[in-house]
Amino acid sequence: MNILCAGLNHQNAPVEIREKFAIGGSDLGETLAAVRTIDGLSGAVILSTCNRVEFYASSVCPVRAFDGLKELLHERTGYDAPLYFHDTPRSVRHLFRVASGLDSMVLGETEILGQVKKAYSSAAELGATTTHLNKLFQHAFRVAKHVRTETQITRGATSVGSVAVELAGKIFGDLTGRRIMILGAGDTSERTARSLVSRGVKTVIVSNRTFDRAARLAEEIGGLAIHFDHWQNAFSDVDILICSTAAPHPIITAEKLQPLLRERGGRPLFVIDLAVPRDVEPSVNELEGVFLYDIDSLEGIVRQSLDIRRGDLVRCEQMITDHVGAFVSWLRRHHEISR
């Protein structure tokens, strides 16, 4: 028995092509049933996400099954799918890499594991899996867990918003009940604030030169709008300050901040400066208890996180190689016993 993997992903097909072959939840049962009628194919799992559409199947004759699959997809969409094709052991390796996030657009992302789990459980519920596929997917989940816990592949945040959340966690620990002030109601500051609110930040104060815009944003995210001239009055309780005004010069200087810090009783202050030109003078980072991050430093952390992940890629691949070996041995043993 062989494990077949065929599909297309972000590496070999642009979104215009991928969307033509995407299989939604409502089509899954019907598509799986059609796939299982392909000659030489005994069971199948379909993984369809925004970045990939993949078919995993157990088959006695993978090449014939692959041709059948291509024909089926052509019939259903009217297009020739630019499918890649892997046979055992490469198919096993491919699934293990996918489940571990090594084949993802953002290296090491963890959402894919949930999607693989969902694809497998949907196929299992529809009775489309076989002993080999069951064993393969269970093993894939173990591999993903092993890779995640033993390496740095999921380490760090990979977007500006998630970096801000992670840094806030490293400064304050629990974010519940923390207060944010937004100076300048821009899109990025709104997204960053939303990321923080999703982690338990309670109060959001929005201040903008145009008060209506501040009021609108405050209403959307459940905050409070104040006039731009009064932001300093509400500053003493703030833990996180997000700046993204269109001011041509820094609006926050060390000189201006120092007297305000005295009222804070040594509580740390996290300043996120998303504006270009910058709203906060760099020397503010030298003030005791103040942690200033501008857009470059946040993006720098994204790059560092990706570098940390890439640095562990060789170890991940080695771990996967070991697991592929173990699975292929099981497959052979199982085949011999079955004979």
């Binding site: 966690g169 490293k170 740390p268 208890g289 991050y293």
Partner: protein, 261 residues
């Protein structure tokens, strides 16, 4: 037998320290169970040693500088085991193990008398005074370690470095809280130790009294200033490291003075 227990404890702390260095070298700074088990095992060996030592000396084993160093190391680990899990500061163990190890190592290799010295217990208050005073320094030691962790984490955050250390060290705010509370704990224990000393009505060595009182006053001043918000967490971290360092340097002197009539 007692010497063997001490060597076993030393090896446990060394193992924990070595594991931390290995994990750091491998870029996987994730100490946890390994460090904790090694430290816990070392603590049991140390406790066994101190029990046998106490039997041999017929009193709380704090009669020589050798005893004080071992007891100090034990107190440090005791406070870590009590406080570390409460504050979820598992990484504190990674920093505690080397300090506990070096204290025992100094005791073992320094040219000091390591033979048991028998002493007749005249008042239980004296034993409490000695024990609580040393355990207080265990808390101050741990406060110093939390201070070091605070400064390391602050450096990571200020320099915008996404290193494994940043992700594995506790949040800087938690470290500031732990640092402050450990100074409080040490101060409380030391105050009790002093009170027990006064209750025992033992003869007071003037130099020892003023040296110990100065340390008590310095820690008290730190807490008052922190309470008045005149001492930012960073300064408390720096000062708790500095004052503990000073105490460690002063400890042999205090011990020498206390051994004189």
């Amino acid at each position: 037998m007692d010497r063997l227990l001490l060597i076993a404890a030393t090896l446990c702390f060394l193992a924990s320290f070595g594991y931390t260095l290995y994990a750091l070298g491998a870029g996987r700074f994730t100490p946890g169970r390994v460090n904790f088990v090694a430290i816990l095992t070392g603590f049991f060996f140390q406790t066994g040693f101190l029990y046998l030592r106490g039997q041999a000396e017929g009193s709380c084993p704090l009669n020589t500088l050798f005893d004080v160093l071992i007891f100090q190391s034990w107190a440090l680990v005791l406070i870590y085991l009590l406080v570390g899990p409460t504050y979820r500061l598992s990484l504190l163990g990674a920093f505690t193990a080397p300090l506990a190890f070096f204290l025992i190592l100094i005791a073992l290799i320094a040219p000091i008398n390591s033979a048991p010295v028998r002493r007749v217990v005249t008042s239980p208050w004296i034993e409490l005074h000695a024990a609580f005073s040393i355990i207080a320094y265990g808390a101050f030691g741990l406060a110093g370690i939390a201070g070091v962790m605070y400064l390391v984490q602050e450096r990571q955050l200020k320099n915008h470095k996404a290193s494994p250390l940043l992700y594995n060290l506790p949040p800087i705010n938690d470290l500031a809280v732990a640092n402050h509370r450990l100074v409080w704990l040490g101060f409380g224990l030391l105050t009790f130790g002093f009170a027990a000393g006064f209750a025992s009505s033992m003869p007071v060595n003037t130099t020892k009294f003023w040296a110990s009182s100065s340390l008590w006053l310095i820690y008290g001043a730190l807490l008052v200033l922190a309470r008045l918000r005149s001492l930012a967490p960073r300064r408390l971290a720096v000062l708790s490291i500095g004052v503990f360092g000073l105490a460690m340097v002063a400890l042999p002197g205090i011990q020498y003075l206390s051994s004189r009539p």
